[in-house]
């Protein structure tokens, strides 16, 4: 018990003193998860808006599939992306396996369904009458798309933040296609796993505290957004 306690105290010390390794891993994690979230958002917002407005056969089924993919296990995504980018795979020639780039691709595969599906349900919360009013006032199709995103902005933002949270906290993709390479592709979750294996509990705990702190921040922001929606 005293060992854990001492580990915790030293972990806090590492945090306060901006330990180089902790800072480096944290920044890399934020930049990889942030990039994949940004790219996934750039895909999800226009496509989600398009799916929301267009009526086509199989729309209901498509939305069901997207929602099912919310629960995609990270190791399945890891496996899929690994096969895709491994030397013998269809995209093997790119030679980007075990790089941050392929980790971003993997995380995008993981979180795009969440962002897309939740954007679609966020937009369906905007009343049809409101969109008709905008049409009557002379909005073009594109302007209508921007309007519906703006009207549902809190719910849409919540969708994006939830995707970011999933990218931040996943382990499977980062390990399987990133390779957990020190100083290159190692993210917080991977570092915590490795440090725990090695018995370096101080590092594991200090990273754990940062990760929990980030989760707390995300949860607070999400809560705020939920409140704005219901007001």
């Amino acid at each position: 018990m005293t060992e854990i306690w001492q580990g915790l105290i030293r972990a806090v010390h590492m945090l306060i003193s901006f330990d180089a390794e902790v800072v480096e891993i944290s920044l890399r994690t934020l930049s990889i998860a942030g990039t994949s979230s940004l790219l996934a958002a750039l895909i999800s917002l226009p496509i989600g808006t398009l799916i929301h407005f267009r009526q086509f056969r199989g729309k209901r089924a498509l939305i069901n599939i997207i929602q099912t993919l919310y629960f995609l296990p990270t190791v399945i995504v890891g496996l899929f992306v690994f096969v895709l980018f491994s030397r013998a795979g269809p995209l093997g020639e790119l030679g980007i396996l075990f790089t941050p780039q392929v980790m971003i691709v993997g995380q995008m595969v993981l979180i795009t369904p969440i962002m897309l599906g939740m954007t679609i349900s966020a937009l369906s919360g905007v009343r049809k009458e409101l969109l008709e009013t905008a049409t009557s006032l002379g909005a073009s199709g594109f302007q209508l798309g921007l309007l519906v995103l703006r009207e549902a902005r809190y719910a849409v933002l919540a969708a994006l933040i939830l995707g970011f949270g999933r990218a931040l906290s996943e382990l499977g993709v980062a390990m399987m296609v990133g390779g957990n390479i020190d100083g290159y592709t190692r993210m917080m979750t991977g570092a915590i796993w490795l440090a725990t294996q090695r018995g370096d509990l101080e590092l594991a705990m200090s990273l754990g505290i940062i990760l929990l702190f980030l989760a707390l921040m995300i949860s607070i922001v999400l809560n705020r957004l939920q409140q704005r929606r219901t007001q």
Binding site: E129, L130, E132, S136, L137, G138, A139
Partner: protein, 369 residues
């Protein structure tokens, strides 16, 4: 009427929702600058007709012309036309932003300098009596204020055609007056073509140059307000414009335009009416309740129609009293509360009901009825 002069022209328009026909073979032409009121009971198809004119819906069949030209198919061209029309929906919806942004959005979508937009928005908010409301949250306004913001939002676009769907429904009388005043002044100053759906006959009468009566999807009568009000062409219209007394009968004789109508309840009861219909025509004799005077039984009448009867109910609201009497047939009269009190009217009292032959409007009944 040439295409050139009509802002909106509709020919043979039919619209169905599933198997239900909501509009049946509607033909209508509305001149530029004309204020047209579309009246009819709830569910008659007024809103659907306005939605079709605003290109929100495509009619099942029939043609629609805007400014003399048929409506194009391409979305871009339809948008261009829609931008020359404004539609004020019955229940106005507001964007989650300030009053200013709500009013400005249509102008922004059309593209324009924020400076010019700002001037226009402030001017129009003044016109509808809402200056100083710029930063208010549009979703927290009262019903009357909301409807005026909706009006401002449509008018700021300076549309060639303004569509209004029950603009004063569910509003308090003061708000109704304010909105009617704005509509009237816009019609006068800008010569905007207006099509207004209302179930309020008197509003149609006050604001419109011409009235169309829509009943169950059919445009049964169009004409100036006085014509529709005084001379409805069908029983449906008569009923809608407040002809409370509608008595079925057959014309017994017609002497030089004065017809004697034998009414169903007995051969001895005859109503004198001004009519061109020949003897033998099955008709409906319509009399407005306000055209009937009541007098004590001792009174000697000069009116062509004078019936003695017994009061069955007296109901007063405001300055008027609505009196129902049984004169061998039921008759409803609307008289001032004061005269009802002077006559001591109450249930069971005998009175004489008088009305002129010119107060009777004769509608020929269709044979299948």
């Amino acid at each position: 009427m040439s295409h050139q002069s009509s802002a909106i022209k509709i020919t043979g328009l039919t619209h169905t929702y599933g198997t239900r026909e909501v509009l049946k073979n509607v033909n209508l032409s509305i001149d530029k600058g004309e204020v047209f009121a579309l009246i009819g009971p709830t569910g008659a198809g007024k809103t659907t007709l306005l939605r079709i004119i605003d290109l929100l819906e495509t009619p099942t069949s029939g043609e629609l012309y805007f400014d003399g030209r048929p409506i194009p198919q391409s979305g871009r061209q339809r948008l261009e036309i829609r931008r020359r029309i404004s539609f004020i929906h019955q229940k106005p919806q507001f964007f989650d932003s300030s009053v200013y942004d709500n009013v400005a959005c249509g102008l922004r979508w059309r593209g324009g300098k924020e400076n010019a937009i700002s001037n226009k928005v402030r001017t129009i908010l003044e016109t509808v009596g809402l200056n100083g409301y710029d930063n208010r949250d549009a979703r927290t306004l009262s019903g009357g204020e909301a409807q005026r913001v909706a009006l401002a939002r449509a008018l700021v676009l300076e549309p060639e055609v303004l569509l209004l769907d029950e603009p004063t429904a569910n509003l308090d009388p003061v708000s109704v007056k304010k909105i009617e005043r704005v509509i009237r002044s816009i019609a006068r100053q800008r010569s905007t073509t207006m099509i207004m759906a209302t179930h309020d006959m008197s509003q149609g009468q006050q604001l419109a140059d011409r009235i169309g009566v829509l009943v169950e999807g059919t445009l049964v009568q169009t004409g100036n307000a006085a014509d529709v009000f005084r001379s409805p062409q069908t029983e449906d219209v008569a009923h809608f414009v407040g002809m409370e007394n509608m008595i079925d009968g057959t014309i017994a004789v017609n002497n030089d335009g004065i017809a004697a109508v034998n009414i169903g309840s007995g051969p001895d009861i005859t109503i004198q009416a001004v009519s061109r219909h020949p003897a033998g025509t099955r008709v409906c004799a319509c009399v407005r309740p306000e055209d009937i005077t009541l007098a004590p039984v001792t009174h000697r009448s000069s009116a062509r129609n004078s019936f003695q009867g017994r009061v069955t109910t007296v109901a007063s609201s405001g300055p008027l009293s609505r009196v129902e009497a049984d004169c061998g047939f039921p008759l409803v009269a609307l008289i001032t509360r004061l005269s009802a009190e002077e006559l001591g009217l109450e249930e069971g009292i005998s009175v004489v009901a008088d009305f002129k032959a010119t107060a009777v409007h004769i509608i020929e009944r269709s044979t299948d009825q």
